[in-house]
């Protein structure tokens, strides 16, 4: 019962000591990797919007109107890769950029091009991005006019029945109503990772050769070949050539710079860069340097081709890079430090690219979120532990490298070695929110249930926030959206009427006057009907989006790296026979905890104890609890989900079962959709527009996050929270995934050797309980409050928001408060 003295995490200490400029975090690292430190010192500027990609892509599209989409895409890629500015910055070893020097965002006008007309100006005014007036003019005059009427988003909107469209968008087709929030055409595809290993082993020449052989053996008399396979293969060949040519432009530039370079060391480096870019990604990588460069060119190409949710994943980087690392180490070409230097040059490249969300629903996305999940650990395809020296090295880098990119995740399984887990927990203790944990013991069986082979399932990679992919097996590409569960409950309580942004409308189905519900089951049934109504519309939109993608999109580069596409000779956006298509969650539910606690409070107070009437409750909600504080307190103190107590946890389980059952009732052309719980930050945005809820939450406050209990109500320690999350999992069908769970701990809880052991115990428990995902925030709330007051002092304070880490000071005050209020599991 001793009150521990305040313990700061290493990150907090650095900030308080005023070390707030970007640099490697230890003296040793700074000395050994001076290059990285120099590159870091130049980092962290507000991103600049670069319009080159948009301009070149549009230029090509204007000339290819007569061609099949896949060929148009290939030609547009060719135009972009041939003409986009090539830049090599001082001290860089890994080269290549999607949009010039420094931190940048690029535009994809083919998706939501019309938004750019007004949106760019607004972004400029908000100050979150730099855009020149000249570029805005160019976009308005040369880009938007071409795309008007041709964008994927317009096609999608036109395919939506008005009722569905209104539920999602209300009056703004680039915004969000608040009842649902749609991610359509913000990105072209779901979270994604490509088979980097294929490029490292074959090179694009090898991939091209495969395509050429297939093309030569096609029987062109077969119309199916003629209209689909031939253009696909031609497109693959074009992008392979374009990728190779792009790298050669870099080789050329490096050679030229080397010729003019006075500094002998840099001259050598530039010559080496030239050699590397001359060889990869055309050919198989021979060294670690070539492998890293080839990987970056590959993902750079993917970024130029199409935006994927959370930006493209790095996949299982400690697996596919390992052979090159090992060989170079053995042959004396590299040591740990030079390997780290190369990796960190890659991290910097990743950090420089900021996705721009072409949406008016700004509050749904915050803090320059991007998650290039970089996955380490886990199992090999034959079920052995996959940890190797590179896994440890990447953990080390995450400890010393100050930026919160790339997003690091560790696959945990029952045989995760103790020393590795120890290092992982040491890193968690640093307090940057890294790494997040994915649980093999839950995810692999989930993939098997979907029809994956055991080998493919073991080889899954994390993608985006907490999602996963099997890189050569998963084929489903269409993005989903969010459903506001507490809004569905409000409609169940008000006969389908919902108040959003203060306006009341009948948006749901009529389920009757809640005052007449004689039992809790009647309320649950009304809730179910409202959810079902929203899910039905969700399926309608999903079908419209699947159709839109097949009509409007192609991705020859990403397809060329996918076994299923190369077997069926079909673009990834077209219906495919092979692979596993129904493999990812799409119906993203927000406010699960809020809804569950609201239901528990109603059950307890209205039906079981009869302390209040339904009428009193509805009046109090209507009044946002003005003058009804006693009633609000009763609601706040009703049984809460997350405390490992059966009353509310049982309701959570019922709601979960209802959701999974409802999701199974409908189909899109691709099949059933999956339920997931990944809010990113939309639980804040959806909360802002919502009125008061029966868990005592006032209007405008954030909804609960992911699968976590409402902020601050889980008071029985993180193990109880884990057990509640476990109990809430109904396991009704295998159609639930990506259950995001965030636990915040004070540094003192995990201080010292014992604290480390306890943290390791928590992770093992998480693994035993087969929970999908877990991430920790280790911070003092005092520190966070101080950071709110003095943002300049905390410019680089990183917190884990939801599946990603962000700079605390970049977040809105609401989200900052939300993070502060998350239960601090502090022992006194």
């Amino acid at each position: 019962m001793e009150a521990a003295a305040k313990v700061l995490t290493p990150q907090e200490e650095r900030i308080i000591k005023g070390l707030d400029k970007e640099e490697l975090t230890t003296e040793e690292a700074k000395n050994k990797r001076q290059r990285v430190n120099k590159l870091l010192a130049r980092f962290r500027k507000v991103p600049r919007v670069d319009i080159q990609r948009a301009l070149l892509f549009t230029e090509s599209f204007q000339e290819t109107e007569s061609l099949p989409v896949v060929l148009r895409w290939a030609k547009a890629m060719e135009n972009v890769l041939n003409k986009i500015e090539v830049v090599i910055n001082d001290d860089e070893l890994i080269v290549g950029t999607c949009g010039g020097t420094g931190r940048h965002s690029i535009l994809y006008p083919e998706l939501r091009g019309c938004w750019l007309e007004e949106g760019l100006q607004r972004l400029k005014e908000q100050g979150a991005y730099l855009v020149s007036d000249e570029d805005i003019k160019t976009v308005k005059e040369k880009i938007v006019p071409y795309w008007r009427g041709k964008t994927a988003h317009e096609t999608y909107i036109s395919l939506l029945p008005e009722e569905t469209r209104y539920l999602i968008y209300g009056d703004d087709n680039y915004g969000a109503s608040g009842l649902m929030q749609d991610n359509a055409n913000i990105n072209a595809t779901l979270n994604w990772a490509v088979d980097y290993q294929k490029v490292l082993e074959k090179g694009f020449l090898g991939i091209k050769k495969d395509a050429e052989e297939k093309l030569n053996s096609l029987d062109v008399v077969d119309p199916q070949n003629h209209i689909q396979k031939t253009p696909f293969l031609k497109a693959v060949i074009i992008v392979c050539d374009a990728m190779i040519a792009f790298a050669k432009r870099y080789a050329e530039l490096a050679r030229e710079m080397a010729r003019n370079e006075k500094d002998k060391i840099r001259k050598k480096e530039l010559e080496r860069i030239a050699e590397v870019c001359e060889w990869v990604p055309a050919n198989p990588a021979r060294t670690f340097h070539e492998a890293v460069q080839s990987q970056w060119f590959t993902q750079l190409g993917c970024r130029l081709e199409q935006p994927t949710t959370g930006v493209i994943s790095n996949g299982r980087i400690d697996q596919y890079l390992y052979p090159y690392y090992k060989k170079d180490l053995e042959e004396g070409r590299i040591n740990e430090d030079s390997a780290l230097e190369l990796l960190e040059c890659l991290w910097l490249k990743i950090a420089d690219f900021v996705p721009l969300n072409a949406t008016n629903a700004k509050s749904f996305w915050e803090g320059y979120a991007h998650f290039e999940q970089t996955v380490i650990g886990g199992q090999t395809r034959d079920g052995q532990d996959a940890t190797n020296e590179l896994s440890y090295l990447i953990l080390k880098s995450k400890k010393e490298f100050p930026l919160h990119y790339p997003d690091l995740s560790v696959r945990i399984h029952s045989q995760t070695p103790e020393p590795f887990l120890r290092e992982v927990c040491e890193l968690i203790r640093e307090g940057t929110g890294f790494p997040k944990l994915l649980n093999d013991e839950e995810i692999i069986p989930h993939l098997l249930a979907q029809g994956a082979t055991l080998e493919d399932a073991r080889d899954y990679t994390g993608c985006a926030c907490t999602e996963i992919r099997m890189i050569n097996t998963s084929t489903y590409m269409v993005v989903g959206g969010n459903i506001n569960l507490p809004a569905a409950l409000e409609m169940a309580l008000n006969d389908g009427v919902l108040k959003l942004k203060g306006n009341k409308q009948r948006l749901g189905v009529t389920t009757g006057d809640a005052r007449n519900f004689a039992t809790f089951d009647e309320l649950m049934n009304a809730f179910r009907l409202q959810v079902e109504y929203l899910v039905r519309h969700f399926y309608i939109r999903q079908t419209a989006l699947e159709m839109t993608n097949a009509m409007k999109l192609a991705a020859p580069l990403m397809s060329s790296l996918h076994d299923v596409c190369m077997n069926e000779l079909t673009d990834i956006h077209q219906p495919l026979k092979g692979g596993v298509s129904a493999d990812t969650g799409n119906i993203n539910l927000n406010g699960f905890g809020t809804a569950v606690e609201s239901l528990a409070a109603i059950k307890k107070l209205v039906y079981d104890d009869k302390k209040i009437t339904m009428n009193e409750l509805l009046e109090a909600l209507e009044a946002n609890f003005e003058g009804k504080e006693a009633l609000r307190q009763m609601l706040l103190n009703a049984p809460k989900y997350g405390n490992n107590a059966p009353y509310a946890d049982q309701i959570a389980r019922e709601v979960d079962a209802m959701l999974l059952t409802t999701a199974r009732k409908f189909k899109t052309p691709n099949g059933h959709q999956y339920i997931k719980f990944v809010p990113v930050t939309s639980h804040v945005g959806l909360g802002v527009v919502m009125g008061a809820t029966p868990n005592g939450r006032k209007a405008g406050e954030p909804l609960s996050e992911g699968i976590s209990p409402t902020q601050g109500v889980d008071m029985k320690g993180p193990l109880s929270t884990l057990l509640s999350i476990d109990r809430a999992k109904s396991r009704k069908y295998a159609n639930s995934l990506a259950r995001l769970l965030n636990i915040k701990l004070s540094p003192q809880v995990v201080a010292g050797e014992k604290g480390l052991q306890d943290l390791m115990s928590m992770v093992r428990t998480f693994c035993d309980l087969k929970l999908w995902h877990l991430q920790f925030n280790i911070l003092n709330s005092d520190i966070l409050r101080d950071a709110q007051k003095n943002p300049e002092k905390y410019r680089n304070l990183i917190v884990r928001v939801a599946g990603y880490s962000a700079y605390f000071v970049d977040l809105s005050p609401q989200l900052q408060n939300e993070i502060i209020n998350r239960t601090e599991h502090q022992h006194m």
């Binding site: 019962m1 001793e2 009150a3 521990a4 003295a5 003058g627 504080e629 006693a630 009633l631 609000r632 307190q633 009763m634 706040l636 103190n637 490992n644 107590a645 029985k716 320690g717 993180p718 193990l719 109880s720 884990l722 057990l723 809880v749 014992k754 604290g755 052991q757 306890d758 390791m760 115990s761 928590m762 093992r764 428990t765 035993d768 309980l769 599991h825 022992h827 006194m828």
Partner: protein, 316 residues
């Protein structure tokens, strides 16, 4: 009954708190079960709600939403012990002389500003509550029974610990050692770890600051050492300014405990005043108001000197 494996144990104990996720009271992540009632009245006690054996009403003023919004407790109290506060309007005053701890106000308080310390729980109830955290038992945690003084409810604690052991839950106790040896002996049989307080070697001073003499305590710890040589004992001393914070006091304790063959650790715990608000919640006066917590460096210096002596005797 004692050895009837299938039976449900309905023996009742008075528990005032079960603290989840405790990381400082034994190995791993533990649940600490606090038993209500203590024969000692240590002036510095940071859990005053642990002292009386009977249930007590606690009032947390800043949680109270006031009589304008609420006032339910005033209406509910059959003894008219709760009134509109004359000092802190619009909040309430509780007249402790009238209160008989019936708990009616607790039931109606919507904000949980009024709480009842001390619930009767069966062994089965406690097991259910702590087994809920059963994930921790697999990873090095367990249950720690604390107080109050658990020896006041020795029968219940014995059954609880025995049941835990049977179910593979690691057990630890925290005791002042002030009680009947036969009871302590019965309990120690089911303990994997014992935290034992030795507060002061001077019996008169001990009595002045804790209300009891120390002979029983010192006698019991020697018996624990000789009868349970395999059970590790961690001796703790709360370091209280003006009571036992001199090196002379601490040295005397250290020299005494060198004879314990099962001593694994000696921990000094610096006085703190974090319990003070709880005195207010209970309508009691905190008597060490003017005492300042000792300096961190001073405590660590004492600890080092103590360890030096213990090391010489190679107590481990």
């Amino acid at each position: 009954m004692d050895n009837d494996t299938g039976s449900v144990n309905h023996k009742l104990g008075r528990v005032f708190n079960i603290q989840k996720f405790s990381v400082h009271d034994g190995p791993g992540i533990r649940d600490v079960v606090f038993m209500k009632g203590c024969p000692l009245r240590c002036l510095w006690c940071c859990n005053p709600e642990s002292q009386n054996t009977f249930p007590e009403i606690g009032y947390i003023q800043n949680k109270c939403i006031g009589i304008q919004e609420c006032g339910y407790c005033i209406k509910a109290c059959p003894k008219k012990a709760i009134t509109n506060s004359t000092v802190e309007t619009p909040k309430i005053d509780i007249d402790r002389r009238l209160c008989d701890h019936c708990g009616k106000c607790v039931d109606v308080c919507p904000a949980r500003a009024i709480t009842l310390f001390g619930q009767m729980m069966s062994v089965e109830d406690v097991i259910k509550e702590v087994q809920g955290g059963n994930a921790s038992w697999r990873t090095g945690g367990g249950i720690t029974v604390s107080g109050g003084e658990l020896l006041l409810q020795a029968d219940f604690v014995h059954d609880l610990l025995k049941e835990c052991k049977k179910r593979g839950i690691d057990t630890a106790i925290e005791t002042s050692g002030y009680g009947d040896w036969r009871e302590l002996e019965r309990i120690c049989r089911h303990c994997n770890l014992i935290f034992y307080d030795v507060k002061c070697m001077d019996s008169d001073k001990h009595k002045a600051f804790t209300g009891v003499n120390n002979e029983v305590i010192l006698d019991n710890i020697l018996k624990v050492a000789s009868q349970f040589p395999e059970t590790p004992v961690i001796v703790r001393t709360p370091v209280i300014p003006e009571f036992n914070d001199s090196w002379k006091d601490i040295k005397a304790i250290v020299e005494f405990i060198t004879q314990l063959q099962n001593l694994t650790e000696y921990e000094l715990m610096a006085y703190h005043a974090f319990g003070e608000p709880k005195y207010r919640q209970l309508g009691r006066k905190y008597r060490l108001e003017r005492v300042k917590p000792p300096k961190k460096e001073y405590i660590s210096d004492l600890q080092q000197r103590a360890n030096a002596i213990l090391k010489k005797k190679s107590y481990k």
